[in-house]
């Protein structure tokens, strides 16, 4: 492995505000009386419930099963009774409700039995077995995206995987859950890395950690040394936001720029979060499904903390448990301050992708939380300087502002990763990312409308075609009917046939007559006797002919 580091364009050095939550160990969050477990905590199709209200469930038991290839199982985060399956508010920027399974906990937290493997089995296992264990455990990408991990562990489309990148960059301010995980559970991360490498057939793995986490780097190096793994290395990368962006991280480590419309796997690279690796280890070796994660609780809180939280724990329960009065809270950000989203209400549950809960209290602002009034763009170009995708944010803004959605795509709108760097540095305080989201959703809506319009047009055209066809068919039928009406009667036909027969007969007679008028041959130099014989014959013939013409023709005469 090349030990050189590369760089990506732009980025920001941000004050990280991580010290508060990293000076104490990870704490267990208390178990709430009710867990509200959404059926969709991942990218893909929602899981299908396999329990019904009143059912007793055990910790780690599947309560909703994955449907389709890109989906994930949902497990009971603690033992208890299913009290409802209904729509509840969930952690989503839209603030919409989604189906959830509500489990009233019994406090016993009794685990169900799950298949595990022992350490000795590991190298002999087929990658499929590992993927199956990980899929059953409902593991999804824990860095925030929530893509089902088992899918991302299967090299697809004939790509072979050279390098597994474990993302421990954690570049957003405040968030330190991965940092604490690596400090306290480094062996699990290393073990997870080996599982993932085996599943992918990857030859090497790199654990990338920002250089503002020296403790994590040391802990990971120690764990690697004690595990005696040679093909996994730890790399300290510069703490420049957004170094944890998948394509930026790959560029930093390898110098490879993943093309805009390609995936890292096309270059033989797969990227997973360190917490996902640790979850894979728990699933494979301990038989523990994905039922909890480490969440950083920060902002206007008595003390910044890292908590092991069961999925389904309501945010306001969590706040109350750590001496935060929800009535005093004015805003809650899920995720970091750069890319996180705000909650509409406090009673939504923590889910698999929720890495940080950033609390703001009424009458207070987070440091750097001051968004002044927006002024016109002065084209200073600071945004372009910091853009990690090397776009021209102010041009994008200009075209989004004037709703020129064709032009904005020429400036590569869809390569924008919404990291917020441009917005952060904008001296005019223009909410740039909001403009880009607006433009993206408008374009999606237009495309959706266009699709619908295309279908409508096709339907319309087919209807026109059908009407036209029916019209011609009807006209044809009418014509046939009319023809049938005007067609000659049988009597008239008969008459015509008779007339034709007469005409034919007359014709025949004429022909014969003509033939008879022809001069017979060998009649020169006839003897008188011969001449007389001929005359007699002719006379008879004439007589006979006269008789025939005088007689009216009978019906069969022409049938001869």
């Amino acid at each position: 492995m090349n030990t050189r580091l590369f760089s990506f364009h732009g980025g920001l050095k941000l004050v990280d505000f991580k010290a508060g939550a990293t000076d104490q160990p990870i704490q267990q969050a208390p178990l709430p009386p009710q867990l509200v477990i959404p059926l969709q905590q991942h990218i893909g199709t929602p899981a299908e419930p396999v329990v019904k209200p009143g059912d007793r469930v055990l910790t780690g038991q599947v309560i909703a099963r994955a449907t389709g290839a890109i989906s994930a199982n949902i497990h009971a985060s603690s033992s208890g009774t299913v009290s409802a399956i209904e729509k509840r508010p969930v952690a989503h920027p839209s603030g919409l409700q989604a189906p959830c399974i509500v489990v009233t906990t019994d406090g016993a937290d009794r685990w169900c039995d799950s298949p595990t493997i022992t350490g000795d089995d590991f190298p002999h296992l087929a990658p499929d077995v590992l993927r199956k264990l990980i899929r059953q455990a409902g593991i999804v990408g824990m860095g925030g995206a929530g893509f089902p991990t088992a899918v991302k562990l299967k090299p697809s489309g004939g790509n072979s995987v050279e390098l597994l990148v474990l993302n421990g960059a954690e570049c957003e301010p405040y968030i330190s859950c991965d940092d604490m995980l690596m400090r306290e559970r480094a062996p699990a991360v290393v073990s997870g890395a080996r599982i993932m490498m085996h599943a992918l057939g990857a030859r090497q793995a790199v654990i990338a950690i920002e250089d503002n986490k020296p403790e994590s780097i040391a802990a990971m190096q120690a764990a690697l040394a004690s595990a005696g793994v040679g093909n996994v290395s730890v790399r300290a990368i510069p703490a420049i936001y957004p170094a944890g962006g998948e394509k930026q991280l790959i560029k930093l480590l390898t110098g490879i720029e993943i093309p805009a419309k390609a995936l890292p796997i096309n270059a033989g690279i797969v990227c997973h979060n360190v917490a996902t690796a640790a979850a894979a280890h728990r699933a494979v070796y301990l038989g523990q499904s994905s039922i909890s994660r480490i969440v950083t609780l920060a902002g206007h809180v008595p003390r910044d903390l890292n908590l092991e939280v069961r999925y389904g724990t309501p945010v306001d329960f969590l706040l109350r448990s750590f001496d935060i009065n929800p009535a005093q809270v004015s805003a809650v950000i899920i995720g970091g301050p750069m890319m996180g989203y705000t909650l509409h209400r406090g009673d939504v549950p923590v889910i698999k992708t929720c890495n940080c809960i950033l609390v703001q209290q009424q009458g207070k602002r987070l440091p750097y939380g001051n968004h002044g009034a927006a002024m016109p763009c002065i084209r200073c170009g600071n945004c372009a300087d910091v853009c990690p995708a090397n776009l021209l944010p102010q041009q994008l803004y200009w075209h989004a502002h004037s709703r020129d959605f064709d032009k904005i795509q020429d400036f590569h709108l869809f390569d924008c990763i919404e990291c917020g760097c441009c917005d952060y540095v904008c001296p005019s305080h223009i909410p740039l990312v909001q403009y880009y989201r607006f433009a993206k959703s408008e374009i999606w809506a237009q495309e959706h409308d266009k699709e619908k319009a295309d279908i409508a047009r096709q339907r319309h055209e087919f209807r026109q075609f059908r009407l036209e066809r029916e019209k011609t068919e009807r006209a044809l039928r009418h014509k046939q009917k009319a023809d049938a009406l005007h067609a000659p009667s049988a009597e008239a036909e008969d008459l015509a046939r008779k007339k034709a027969a007469i005409a034919a007969a007359v014709e025949r007679v004429k022909t014969r007559k003509a033939q008879s008028d022809t001069k017979p041959r060998n009649v020169d130099n006839l003897s008188a006797q011969q001449q007389q014989l001929i005359d007699e014959v002719e006379a008879r013939r004439k007589q006979h002919r006269r008789q025939r013409t005088e007689r009216p023709p009978n019906k069969n005469s022409d049938a001869q």
Partner: protein, 344 residues
């Protein structure tokens, strides 16, 4: 907490702001302004005060006519920057109305009629200056040398009186062309460089007396701007290099007819232009490659106008001409987006 405040990410913002930017520019202009005042006397302070007051007055008027927030825009500092830059071009004992007309035109027409802050295609200060130069060439070229100025011993009251009452007639006898203007006129009279430069107290070691210090201080201020990351290096470096190379080339061809490149770099509005005027983000090119072309264009046009044109200094015209080219430059110099091939 049933109803929480929602907002779109990012939820934090850097400390940068337009007023901060503009007042940093003003602070970086201070060394050059002090040098200017040191050599050309109290008249500079009078005109500066007048210019700033006019600028704020016009700004307030236009903002209320356009129904914009006066709170937000009067305090942004942009009008003050335009006014200050224009002040460098106004002779210290020029009549008061010169400043008032120039600044009003810059703010009302060049800035607000084009849409206000961020929308003006041309640098307002330069538009104001060019208007004055074309309309009042006599008043605009009546400079004093620093030496004459100190010899005159005008006190502040006398200066005020000259500016507000006497107008140009009072000082007509002692004013003369600025060094660049003088140089151009003398060269057109086929005097050689050596004759011209030895012939008077108008020229210092590098450029015009006094002007070389104003330029040196503007260079210092420009370096501060670079250090504070207010401007990018591309425009000033490209402009100064282009001017240096063009001047150097012709100077090497015929030192008798073409002045020393150093004289070009340290006279007139060169340094102010390179660091404070050409770098005005609103009217300049915004891509890094575009900035290089833009700066180089200004350098070359400045040299052409100074050497063969009819005006004493070419920076203002060069900036305005390149302002016109900026959108085209931007269009053709888009950077390659991440993950896109060279031709994408």
């Amino acid at each position: 907490m049933t109803v929480l405040r929602t907002s779109s990410s990012p939820h934090i913002h850097g400390p940068n702001s337009v007023p901060k930017l503009m007042f940093t520019v003003l602070a970086c202009l201070l060394p050059a302004l002090l040098a200017h005042g040191w050599f050309f006397g109290a008249g500079i302070a009078v005109h500066l005060t007048l210019a700033c007051a006019t600028a704020l007055g016009c700004e307030a008027l236009m903002l209320s006519l356009r129904d914009k927030s006066r709170m937000l825009f009067l305090t942004d500092g942009s009008a003050l920057v335009s006014a200050t830059l224009l002040c460098f071009a106004i002779p210290p004992l020029a009549p008061w109305w010169l400043t008032v007309i120039g600044v009003s035109f810059a703010i009302v027409v060049a800035k607000h009629l084009y849409g206000g802050l961020g929308h003006n295609p041309f640098n307002p200060a330069m538009v104001g200056y060019v208007l004055l130069l074309i309309s009042f060439p006599r008043e605009m070229t009546a400079w004093l040398t620093p030496a004459t100025h100190s010899a005159l011993h005008y006190d502040f009251g006398a200066t005020l009186d000259l500016i507000f009452n006497a107008g140009i007639t009072g000082v007509d006898a002692v004013t003369m062309a600025s060094p660049l203007d003088h140089l151009r006129m003398e060269l057109s009279r086929t005097h050689s460089m050596v004759e011209i430069l030895n012939n008077g107290e108008l020229y210092g070691r590098l450029g015009g007396t006094g002007w070389e210090w104003v330029n040196a201080m503007a260079l210092l201020g420009g370096l501060l701007l670079l250090w504070r990351k207010i401007i990018h290096w591309h425009i000033p470096v490209a402009m100064l290099l282009a001017l240096l190379i063009s001047a150097g080339f012709f100077h090497l061809l015929d030192p008798g007819r073409y002045s020393d490149p150093m004289l070009h770099l340290f006279s007139g509005a060169t340094m102010l232009g390179a660091f404070f005027i050409a770098t005005d983000p609103v009217s300049a090119a915004t891509t890094n490659r575009g900035r290089l072309y833009y700066g180089a264009g200004i350098g070359i046009i400045t040299y052409i106008i100074r050497t063969w044109g009819g005006y004493p200094d070419g920076v203002a015209f060069a900036v305005l001409l390149m302002n016109m080219a900026a959108p085209t430059l931007d269009h053709f110099t888009q950077p390659r987006a991440f993950g896109h091939g060279e031709r994408d």
